[in-house]
């Protein structure tokens, strides 16, 4: 921990609430996030001693200055009372592998040092955050005795495709808890859980990068902490090129999910059914920005994968699955369809190979990307005219397939 950071923590001594905002070049949006946090804490927790920690990855665009600069001059203008304790702000660089997980580690350290009762972490590129998010993420921990609050958003039907096609159905089938956004990015958690996270030796792995979200969620479930979710409304974040991040994001998230499967295999093998988790917040429909998708490009990438990577996939997939993939790669763009049971079989086969370590893991996960793009293309094509509810039903049916095929995973796991 940086010395100046420790000095600031020592000066504050202790806090009831800690809110962490990891950042890297988010000067455009972080001001709004910080204002929402300040207003939310003043409105819903005026008597609590709260601290905001900005854990920054060395921004060059004035992100840190923006966090220090932002103030709410008159709380009456946003219908909140003046807080009894003014919010303390700490802006600190994090150390270790550059990534979101390392930034979170610094936030956990601050939570442990200040003995915070309730904590929340928020993405710094959020454009749709409101002060109510503070109540929704913190109150279940602060007053209801929960240890972990996952977010529940209104999202565009084509948003969150790694979540919808892999992470949510797989986590649900494995651990039996229906947490809809296990890698949402905005979470609430208890100081006790933050302390537990800190004790884990994972900070040199993909958990230190994009793998942190699913790691936090899985640990909270698997270690028996009290878990719930809160409906936050729309999730709209800063526009960026998602294609540029897909490779590392995909491999780090999936690596984290598969890695946890190895650790918690005795647990998930025993889970036979799934349960809903308590949900807070008022559910309402939200208007969302349209999403444009290039299906042709994704199908093209899938076909190229079938042409060139089949030799590598053949070490993971059965002959039957490989033939199935070849046959769908020959379909025309109009007829292209990626069946759900084929997708689930692939996810389970790759999980088994990852566990056995018979193929270099980084290569294995990167080689999944064309398959994933094929699945996403099929999903977008199938749901082009579907409503959000119909899409949700489709995701629910995929989850059911993951659950039904779990014996296939259990059987193949130790072979």
């Amino acid at each position: 921990m940086e010395k100046s950071f420790q000095i600031q923590l020592d000066e504050i001594r202790e806090a009831d609430i800690l809110v962490g905002v990891p950042s890297y070049n988010n000067a455009q949006t972080i001001g709004h996030v910080v204002r929402a946090v300040m207003a939310g804490l003043a409105k819903y927790f005026p008597k609590a001693k709260a601290v905001l920690v900005n854990s920054d990855g060395g921004s060059k665009d004035g992100t840190q200055e923006e966090v220090k600069r932002v103030q709410i001059e008159d709380f009456k203008t946003i219908l909140t009372s003046h807080p009894v304790h003014p919010l303390s702000k700490i802006v600190t660089p994090y150390h270790g592998i550059p990534g979101k997980g390392s930034a979170f580690r610094t936030i956990f350290e601050a939570a442990a040092s200040l003995r915070a009762k309730a904590c929340a972490v928020l993405d710094s590129d959020l454009r749709s955050i409101t002060p109510e998010w503070m109540e929704l993420l913190l109150r279940p921990v602060y007053e209801e005795g929960f240890d972990y609050v996952a977010p529940l958003y209104g999202r565009h039907k084509f948003d969150g495709t790694i979540t919808n096609s892999i992470v949510y159905p797989l986590t649900r089938a494995l651990y039996g808890k229906r947490i809809r956004q296990p890698i949402g990015g905005d979470f609430g958690f208890s100081g006790k859980l933050a302390g537990f996270y800190l004790t884990q030796e994972v900070w040199e792995t993909d958990v230190a990068r994009f793998g942190i979200d699913i790691w936090m969620t899985t640990l909270a479930i698997a270690e028996g902490y009290r878990v719930c979710q809160s409906y936050l409304g729309a999730k709209i974040h800063d526009a960026k090129d998602p294609g540029s991040d897909l490779g590392p994001m995909f491999t780090q998230v999936v690596s984290s999910v598969y890695g946890m499967m190895g650790k918690y295999q005795p647990l998930w093998k025993e889970v036979k059914e799934t349960q809903a988790v308590p949900t807070f917040g008022f559910h309402y429909e939200v208007g969302l920005e349209p999403v444009s998708v290039n299906i042709e490009r994704m199908v093209g990438n899938f076909r190229l994968g079938v042409k060139d990577l089949m030799e590598l996939w053949g070490k993971t997939l059965s002959h039957e699955t490989a033939h199935w993939l070849e046959s769908i790669s020959r379909l025309s763009d109009e007829a292209f369809l990626f069946p759900q049971d084929l997708w689930v079989r692939i996810i389970y086969d790759f999980a088994m190979t990852y566990h056995k370590g018979s193929i270099h893991r980084d290569h294995l996960l990167k080689s999944m990307i064309p398959l994933y793009l094929g699945k996403v293309a099929s999903f977008v094509k199938e749901n082009m005219r579907s409503s959000a509810n119909e899409v949700e039903e489709g995701i629910e049916s995929l989850c059911k397939v993951f659950e039904e095929m779990k014996p296939y995973l259990i059987e193949g796991w130790e072979k």
């Binding site: 994001m249 999403v291 998708v293 590598l312 370590g357 270099h360």
Partner: protein
Amino acid sequence: MGEVWREVIVDSFNKFLGKVATFLPNLLAMVTILIIGFLIAWIVKKFIFRFLKAIQLDKVSERWGLAEELSKRGLTYSPAILLSRFFYWVIVLITLIMGINALDVPATQNFIAHFFNYLPHLFAAILILIVGYLIALFLGQATLIAAVNAQMESAKILSRAVRWFIIILSLTMTLYHLGIAEKVIVAAFSITFGGIILALAIAFGWGGRELARDFLERLYKRKEKGKEGPDHLSHV
């Protein structure tokens, strides 16, 4: 005359007995060396095999694609068996040479001295070859996956080019290390790769002018098209 004859025979018989008496301990030494050597070779083979199994060499080589490559080339033994047998035969070879050396035959002395001087180079060369081959397999596969994810139609060609470049480079290094036609090897390597680069430059710069223009135009148009409607999918 008979006396002289008898002396000659006795003398030559004594000389023969003297030589046998000198040679016999050497022969016994050779037999002893061979027995001990074979025994050590067998123990080392067993030890190395168990050690390689313990460090999961077979699993690692499977991960790196070496096991598959060996199997493609008809070698059905696992890398742990192959390596343990390799060391067995190296020790057997050394034992044989030491055995011959024990016979104290002047003709073999020089050869043996050379052999032992050369042995470290031989090991280093084999190591370069194995490591080079593993790196070639690994980087070839990494290139293939990266090129497919970058949607390059020629992903397989690129991957093979990377793989063969590293194999040839490691072969060159191996031969250079062994001191086999050093100058010829370096010259051949330079000429080959210089030639390939020149051929590519000419092919793309002259022969493929139209193709290059077409490629750049398509690339530019695709970028323009991309500007109009990029994906806005948020994957997580």
